[in-house]
């Protein structure tokens, strides 16, 4: 089903045309069965994407987060992604230092990170807009980013805002850079070009116009024969409604 919606589908109040639903399913599909996956603070979409992947195509994925609970089965999904709710049902507990050590020795497969700004080479800025010593806007900081980007085997970036101030040719301050593999936004999926290291389009979400995408991206894009992101399937929608009945995948859009 290319280039259009096909039938609009719903399951448990989840609609297949919502940007949050398209993003969370796109993130989930990037995960592989059996791999070790980590997310940090302020990461509701990765939290839901991991649980969705485990409920669909990746039941043996190893889910690690800052609470330290391995493969938790939370009865409610928290707004804070370091919440004790992410300990529920876990049979093993590690520390954050353990998770970083895992990454340091090359045994952490995939990490989810974000950036207030993301540039054409996948570098992220979570630190400051303007002079870092006396910034115009002081940002929250990158938490684990600067260490995880070069050490984890791959990083998936996500960002719920897609405009030309967010996706820029070059960040003024690189909080971190490294092994970025994919970037998922409300408009598209980028992959990192293996030759030039630049972000290139992998797919454009259903209903997104090419002109709009170009206007809202601050670096050059090649739109030649880019496929449409396959819409969420009925099975994905049902699984999403089951793992996230309260809609935590939507809160980053509020």
């Amino acid at each position: 089903m290319r280039g259009g919606w096909g039938a609009l589908m719903t399951a448990g109040g989840v609609r297949s045309d919502e940007p949050a639903v398209i993003m969370v399913t796109a993130l989930s599909r990037l995960l592989r069965d059996g791999e070790r996956v980590f997310h940090g603070v302020a990461s509701p979409l990765p939290m839901v994407a991991i649980l969705l992947a485990k409920a669909t195509h990746a039941p043996h994925l190893v889910y690690i987060n800052i609470s330290g609970g391995i493969d938790p089965a939370p009865s409610r999904l928290p707004r804070s992604t370091t919440d004790p709710a992410l300990l529920e049902g876990t049979r093993a507990l590690i520390t954050l230092a353990d998770a970083f050590d895992l990454s340091a020795r090359g045994e952490l497969d995939t990490v989810f990170l974000s950036g207030v700004q993301i540039d054409a080479r996948g570098r992220i800025n979570m630190s400051a807009i303007g002079d870092p010593a006396r910034p115009k806007i002081r940002l929250p900081g990158g938490a684990g980013s600067a260490f995880l980007l070069p050490t984890a085997n791959r990083t998936i970036l996500w960002r719920t805002r897609h405009d030309s101030r967010t996706f820029v040719e070059e960040v003024s301050f690189a909080t971190g850079s490294g092994k970025v593999d994919r970037v998922v936004t409300p408009l598209c999926v980028f992959r990192r070009d293996s030759e030039g290291g630049r972000l290139v389009l992998e797919s454009i979400h259903p209903g997104v116009g090419a002109d709009d995408l170009v206007a809202r991206t601050g670096f050059a894009l090649d739109l030649t024969s880019i496929p449409t992101t396959p819409p969420p399937t009925a099975a994905e929608l049902a699984a999403l409604a089951h793992v996230d009945p309260e809609g935590m995948h939507r809160i980053e859009f509020a």
Binding site: I66, S80, P84, S103, R105, P135, F173
Partner: protein, 276 residues
Amino acid sequence: MSKVSSLAAAIAAIPDGSSIALGGNTLHRSPSTAVHELIRQDKRELTLIKTAGAYDIDVLCGAGCVARLIVAYVGFENLRGMALRFRSAIETGQVHLEEHTCASVIAGLRAAVQGIPFMPLAGMTGTDLAPGRFHAVANPYGGGEVMTIPAIRPDWAIVHVQEADSEGNARILGTTFEDALIARAARHVFVTCEKLVSGAELARQPELTTIPAFQVDAVVEAPGGAWPASCAGYYNIDEAAIGRYYEMAAQATPEHIRAFIAEQVEANQCAAVGAR
């Protein structure tokens, strides 16, 4: 030997200008009661150390208690957004930020724990946080270089735990975050706990005691001591209280912050007494 203290006396022992590592992570098991008392006693020129802070760092910045921060993240995650008093303190130059990544805070603390001047750390390439601050050294046993992080030795560690005995043996239920590490790295340790329990109770499962009494200077029973942050097994984040703080903090002066904290703490104590 009992190390049970009053909150006021324990905090009075911390001089202005101290460096303090705070336990917990973002809005979980933050040592909030101790933080409120630091503000009430009008501490000045503090250095705060933490991987990922939220309310605790923000309110101390807003109250004018802070000169320097060694942190990797300060924010209210997706409950609210940016930490407004932290942000303002950095933008106006009131507070000097030594921005880290979480793993480099841990590496610096590990160096202090081991009594050495720095700790090697993997990665740290491709970040503008490193140049001029963190230095690579040659690997003396083979080729290549490795980045190093200078030791971070706090004067004080302040942690809030679920259970402790009167001598200061402290038991953390659920996630320990960096609490055990900061308690070993710091020169002095102050513990607040939800509940004082007997030494015999701790002796039944000593492996749960994360911080041994010989490292602890003072212990205070402070039910609700993480509020408005969560304390695993006791209470969740008080999202309404975080919301009230956040709305107030948008424009607040240090005087507003102090008055608000005093009022909220009193209201919360009354509510807690009423619930018993």
